[in-house]
Symmetry: none
Subunit: 204 residues, 2 copies
C-alpha cells in the first residue's frame, strides 16, 4: 500500500514538476516583490487649498489644436488678445475627443499667448511669432466647477511676463460668457482648431 501510494505520489509530483516547468514557460514572472506599486498618473493640473490653479507645466508637449491671431494693427490698436494664441488640449482628453467628439470631464485646454515678433521674413510679409507673453487655462469639471456654465472654469496667469504662479478662477463674465454665447461646440471655439475638427469630424 505504502509503496503503491508513494509511487502514486511520485507520479503526481512528476506531473506537478512538469506542469510547474510548463507554467514557468507560459506565464510571466511576477514583478519583484520589492518594487513599489505603479504610481497613479500625475494630475494634469493642481490647485491650492484655497482653490487657485497652480501654473500648469508640460503643456507644450500636449496636443496642439490651432492658432488664432487677432493683432492690434487690425483692431484699432486695442485687440483683446493682440498676440498669437497657441492652443493645446491635454492628450487623454484629445484621445477621448477623437472617439466621441466630446470634451470629457477633466479636459484641460491651454491658450499660450505669443507676441507678434516681426512682420517680414524670407518667406514674405506676414506675422511671425516673437516671445511668450501670456497663459490662460480652461478646465471642464462637473464636480469642482458645478456652478460654472457648462462646467468650464477659466483662469489667467497674466498677459505679460513674469506670469502668476497661481491664478484664481475668473468671474463668469470675464471669459465664460463669451465662450457660452459664441462657441458652437461645448464652450470651445473648435471651428478655429483644425486639429480638433479633423480628429472628430462628426462633431462639426
Amino acid at each position: 500500500m505504502l509503496g503503491s501510494s508513494r509511487s502514486g505520489l511520485i507520479a503526481g509530483a512528476a506531473i506537478l514538476v512538469g506542469i510547474a516547468g510548463l507554467s514557468y514557460l507560459l506565464v510571466r514572472p511576477a514583478a519583484p516583490t520589492t518594487a513599489a506599486p505603479p504610481a497613479a498618473p500625475a494630475a494634469l493640473v493642481e490647485f491650492t487649498s484655497d482653490g487657485k490653479l497652480k501654473q500648469p507645466v508640460g503643456y507644450r508637449q500636449w496636443i496642439y489644436v490651432g492658432t488664432p491671431l487677432t493683432p492690434n494693427d487690425l483692431n484699432n490698436g486695442a485687440a483683446g488678445f493682440p498676440e498669437f494664441h497657441a492652443v493645446y488640449i491635454d492628450p487623454e482628453s484629445f484621445a477621448h475627443y477623437k472617439k466621441t467628439g466630446e470634451f470629457r470631464d477633466g479636459t484641460v485646454m491651454i491658450k499660450e499667448l505669443i507676441s507678434v515678433g516681426s512682420r517680414e521674413a524670407p518667406s514674405g510679409k506676414g506675422y511671425f511669432m516673437g516671445d511668450f507673453r501670456g497663459l490662460d487655462v480652461t478646465i471642464k469639471d462637473s464636480k469642482r466647477f458645478k456652478d460654472e456654465p457648462g462646467f468650464w472654469a477659466y483662469f489667467s496667469f497674466g498677459h505679460h511676463y513674469p506670469l502668476l504662479t497661481e491664478a484664481p478662477k475668473n468671474p463668469v463674465s470675464a471669459c465664460n460668457k463669451c465662450h457660452e454665447e459664441n462657441a458652437k461646440t461645448d464652450w470651445v471655439f473648435s471651428r478655429y482648431y483644425p486639429v480638433l475638427r479633423a480628429a472628430a469630424p462628426h462633431s462639426k
Copy 2:
C-alpha cells in the same frame, strides 16, 4: 494496487490544483501565445525602395514649435505659402534639442499648411485657421542625405488636398537653398519658433 495508486494520484492532483490556484494568484496570466513579441519602436518616417518618403503619420501628436503666417493679402496675392504654417518636431529630437541646442541626426520637422479660413471672429479681426491644405517635411540625416547641404532633405506632399502618399526629395534649389542662406541655426528658422527658443535658450 490500482486503488492505492489512484488515491496517490488523486492526492497529487489535489496538490496540483492547490498550487495551480496559488500560482494564479502569484503570477500574471501570460500574454496570449499568439501575440507577437514586443515590436521595436516604429520608425519615425519610412521610405520607398526608390527613396521616396512615405507620408508621415501621427505628427499632430508631436511637439508644436510655432506658426508663421504669410497670407496672400499681404503679398500681392502671390505668397509662396499663403497658409498658416503649423510646424512640429518629433519628440525625441526635441528632447535632444532641449539638452544640446542642436538638431540631432534623424530629426524630422513637419510644416503643415492650413488655409486662412476667416478674417473675423468674436475675439476680433485677424486670421483664423480654416482647413488643412498641405504638408512639407524636412529630415536631417548625414548618411541618407550626405550630399544635401547641412544633411537636410526636403519633401512636399503638395499644397492642396488630396496630398501625395509618397514624395520625392526636392532639388536643393527648391527649399534647401533658402534655408541655408536665411536660417541662422542649422537650416531651421528657429527664430520664428518660440517653443524651440525657450527650450534651448543658449542656442539663440
